[in-house]
Each structure stands twice: as C-alpha cells, then as structure tokens.
C-alpha cells in the first residue's frame, strides 16, 4: 500500500520539528530514513502513522487521508514500531503478539480463526517460534526486538514503519532483523525504517531519505544519496565512501 505526505508540518507546542515535508512512497518500496539526531526522523514516522496530529498538511494511506480515517482502520493498514521498548512488560511472547490484533477486535467478541492465523504468521515471519512461552524480560535484545516486530506484524499491516529497529543490537542480530524486513518487503510489504547505520541502510534500502532540520535533505537511491559530499552536508562531518566489493553499493564512513 502506498503512503504519501503533502506539506506535512509537525509541531511540539511552538517548536516545529517537521516543516512542510512532502514525500511519496509507492507500494512495496523499502525506504530507509537517515539523518542527525533531533532532525525529526522519529517525529516524521509519528506523523505518518497518525500517532501525532499534523499542524498542517495531509498524509494519505492507500489514497485516503488518514486524518479522516478511523484510528483503528489506520492501524489495520499500517503498523509502527517505536524505538526499542523501555517498558518492562510482564508478558510472555505469545501474549504480546496477540495484542497486535487489537485494531481487529471488537469488545466482548472472542478471537477468530483469522486472529489465530495472523498471530501464527507473525510468529513465523519474525522467527520466534521457539520463544512463544518465554517471558519478555528473559529475552536477549535481538529476541526481544523480533518479539515486538511480531506484535506489529500481527496487525497484518501493508505498511510497516520502524524507528531504529537495530539500535542496541550486535551485528548478527542487526542483520537478522534486517533480513526479516527484507523478506517481508519481498512479500509486498511497504517498509519505512529509521536507521543510524549507513552501511545497513546502503545494503537493504531501495531508497534513502535524509532528514535534517525538519526537512528532506536528500532523497534517492543509495548510490545517489550516500556520497561523501551529500552526507558531509547532512551530518556536518567530513565523510568518505568505499564501495562494497560484492554489490557495488556505497559504504560511507567518517573521514
């Protein structure tokens, strides 16, 4: 499902964090958002997910203005996974995943076969079959992140927004999470992820958007965006780039 924004402006009180951003993400694209801290990346995701109301502008999801859609309807089409969960929730993994069915539930109505099927698919896709009965607090960082990912997948979204899904994970777990996302994307899911790691971004993204000072600074294929010149401007840091010997994709790093 496609997601687009026109003139999206997001404010906390008087402070404008996202300033008139327009973008268009076609169905099935894998977009990575990069940029300096406090540039507005997380806020942009919140605005796109209807978690935060825009001060101006429109977000369209599958052609419909999300401000006019019911919150639950938005949640059936789009899932957002905020930054690494700090809440110490006292649940086992399977219970957590079931909560992803919230937007599909009606009060006093028992769970359906469709709910069960969605939960099972989510568990399978996130590769947490062996963890069903484990308490969340007993999981390692990578396992926990995949459990939260399964919660979002149980919503059966067609667009998935993720805020730094790989932060705090070691290299192997980072790659595991990104591989899960890549597979889901091949299955048709539109993925928009905020990442700090430019090498991961380069490897998995079809398109990279750099956000700085509340505006889109760069937007394009990894080979166009991840150039030392462009990145130097965005991050205010001298950058150089090698190229991945296998894929030819750019591998930027600070000079």
């Amino acid at each position: 499902m496609d997601l687009s924004a026109q003139g999206l402006t997001l404010r906390y009180g008087q402070k404008t964090v996202i300033d008139g951003v327009s973008l268009d993400v076609p169905s099935g694209e894998f977009v990575v958002i990069v940029g300096p801290n406090a540039g507005g990346k997380s806020t942009l995701l919140r605005g796109l997910a209807r978690v935060m109301r825009p001060a101006a502008g429109v977000v369209r999801l599958g052609g419909d203005d999300i401000a006019t859609l019911d919150a639950r309807e938005v949640a059936r089409r789009l899932a957002i996974l905020p930054q690494m969960q700090q809440f110490d929730v006292d649940l086992v993994v399977e219970e957590l995943v079931w909560r992803g069915r919230t937007p599909h539930h009606r009060p006093f109505r028992p769970a359906t076969q469709a709910d069960l099927a969605a939960v099972e698919r989510a568990i399978e896709h996130a590769r947490i079959e062996g963890l069903r009965e484990r308490p969340l607090r007993s999981l390692s960082g990578g396992e926990r992140q995949r459990a939260w990912l399964a919660l979002a997948l149980a919503q059966e979204p067609r667009v998935l927004l993720l805020d730094e899904p790989t932060t705090f994970l070691d290299l192997r777990h980072q790659v595991e999470v990104m591989e899960v996302l890549a597979r889901l994307n091949q299955g048709g899911l539109t993925v928009i992820a905020v990442l700090h790691d430019l090498a991961l971004a380069s490897r998995y993204a079809q398109r990279i958007i750099a956000i700085a000072d509340g505006k889109i600074a760069l937007d394009g294929a990894p080979s166009e965006v991840l150039t030392p010149d462009a990145l130097s401007r965005v991050f205010g840091l001298d950058m150089v780039a090698l190229s991945d010997p296998r894929t030819g994709r750019p591998l930027p790093f600070p000079a």
Partner: protein, 319 residues
C-alpha cells in the same frame, strides 16, 4: 477457573453474612427467612438487614476493586489506588460537605454530591497523569498530597459540626452499618454500568500497557481511553464512598491479588478485581460484625488491617 472459585467463595460469604451477626440464625431459620413471606422475625432480619447489606458490600467492593485496576492500568503504576491517590478523599470531602451543610438531605442527593466529589478527585489526578505514565514516585507523592489535603478538610469539617462523633466513626473508618436496600438501589445503577464499560475498555487498557506510542499505533485513542477510565474511577469511587465512607486498601489489594491469580491480561484481570474486591469487602464486613458481637467494628479497620501489611509486602518484595 479462579473466577469460579471466587464466585463460590462470594456465595459462601453471602450465606454466612445472612446467617451470622448480632443475632445468630441457624441455616434452617435463614432459609425460612429467605423464602417465607409471613412477616416473621427471620424474614425481617434476612430481607431487611442482612441481604441488602451483603449486596451493598458486593457493590462497594466491586466498585473499589475495578477503580484500583483501572488506575493501575492507566497510570502503569502498581501503587495506584483511589485511597492513595486521593480520589476517595475527594469524594469523602464532598460527602462531608453534603452532610454538614445540608443536614437531612436525601440520600440520593448525597450520593450525587459524593460522586461529583469523586469525579473532581479523578480530574485532579488526570491533570497530573495526562502525559502518559508518570513516575511512581511523583504520582504517589502527588496522591499523598491530594489525599492529605482533602483528608484534613474532611476532619476539619466534621470537627466543626455538632454531629461529629455520630458521623465520623462510620464514615472516616468506612463501614456498612445501617446500609440497606435504598443504598443498593442508588448505587447499583452507577456501579453496574460503570463496571460493564470498564470491561469493554480492557482491550484498550491492554494496548496502553505497551506504552502510549505503541497503543496509538494499534489504533487506540490513548487520551480518550485515559479520560474514560478516570471518569469511571471517579464515579465508582464516589458511589462506594457514598455507601461505605472511606474504605481503604481494597482498590490497591484487589488488583494485585487478581494479578497473582489470572495474570496481566486486563480482560481477565479487571473482572477478577471486581470479584476480589467484592469478596474482600463482604468478608471484612462479616468479620466486623462478629468480632465484638453484639456490637460491631467499622469495616474499614479490617480492610486496612489486611491491606496495610500487604502494601508493606509489595514495597519490600516486588521489583
């Protein structure tokens, strides 16, 4: 399963409540009193005194248990409870104002005033907890402050009135002395729908437990959910206070006991808290009537006697 056990226990306590009291009825007498319709003494005791009093206990306990469960869910704070956070005291102050300023006021109006007081208390709390989970320490401190403020106002009001002693014992300590059908008729139309709405709210409370941002992503309107929950807390606590005065700790203990029985899922936790609260208050009232028979203790003393050690246990041994 646990639900059935609790229901069974509640029925047993209900039977005992009908049989036992200042005057002990035998089981046959009690049954005769329940069924026969010829104005005899047992019928009077059972129908006019003990059965309504047991029902009042159930309503008060369920209201407080659900209030506590709702507060703990929306504040994500295991120490939340209408007494600790000052909602009970706000309702109590309204009740005291009603009693002192309008002596001889109808009980219906008194209940309305008390519920409005509960809603004001919930409103104060809402203004503190609006932005999602606030830290346990800040919330508890704010609650203590609110509670102390309203509590002082209550004692001040009662002390300055001429009917201090009569009023204050049953009211400040909490009790069901003299409560009857009329009390049940007044508060049941509040408590039963409020509990039903609270149960309908439980899937959203489950989402809220995952954090505001995730809950919003799951299609839950977090601010509205919090608002509805706190309105329910104000109404339920006000209703309970209007019948039984300041009964402490039921709202704190019931959800914790229920959590240890059925876990974190609000869909089970909240109805179980209603049952646990009802069982706790009905049992406390039964014991209160028996320990210094033929006189009776204020029931709130007993809930505090159970609740305070339990709170200490929580503070000491849980996370």
């Amino acid at each position: 399963m646990w639900t059935l056990a609790l229901l069974g226990a509640l029925v047993v306590v209900g039977m005992l409540s009908i049989i036992m009291g200042a005057i002990m009825l035998g089981l046959p007498d009690a049954i005769r009193g329940l069924i026969h319709d010829n104005g005899e003494f047992e019928r009077l005791v059972v129908w006019d005194l003990r059965l309504p009093r047991f029902l009042d206990a159930v309503l008060v306990g369920a209201a407080l248990g659900v209030s506590g469960a709702l507060l703990q869910a929306v504040t994500r704070n295991p120490l939340a409870d209408p007494t600790i956070l000052g909602v009970s005291a706000a309702a109590g102050l309204a009740l005291a104002v009603g009693l002192v300023l309008f002596p001889g006021i109808d009980r219906e109006w008194l209940a309305v005033i008390t519920i409005l007081g509960g809603l004001v208390g919930a409103g104060v709390l809402l203004s503190m907890a609006w932005q999602g989970a606030i830290s346990s320490i800040r919330l508890t401190l704010a609650g203590i402050a609110i509670s102390a403020f309203f509590g002082a106002a209550i004692v001040g009001l009662l002390a300055s009135s001429t009917t201090f002693l009569e009023l204050s014992l049953g009211f400040l300590a909490g009790g069901l002395y003299g409560s009857d059908w009329r009390d049940a008729q007044i508060v049941a139309p509040i408590v039963i729908p409020a509990v039903a709405i609270a149960i309908a709210l439980t899937p959203r409370l489950n989402a809220l437990a995952l954090g505001d941002e995730l809950a919003a992503g799951l299609g839950v309107l977090t601010d509205r959910t919090r608002l509805i929950a706190l309105i329910l807390v104000g109404a339920l606590t006000g209703a309970a206070v209007s019948v039984a005065g300041l009964v402490s700790f039921v709202g704190l203990v019931s959800p914790h006991v229920s959590r240890s029985l059925v876990g974190e899922d609000q869909r089970y936790l909240l109805p179980t808290s209603a049952l646990t609260g009802a069982l706790l208050v009905a049992t406390a009232d039964l014991v209160a009537r028996l320990v210094i028979r033929p006189s009776e203790l204020p029931m709130g003393i007993l809930t505090a006697a159970v609740g305070a050690p339990f709170l200490l246990y929580l503070v000491r041994f849980r996370r």
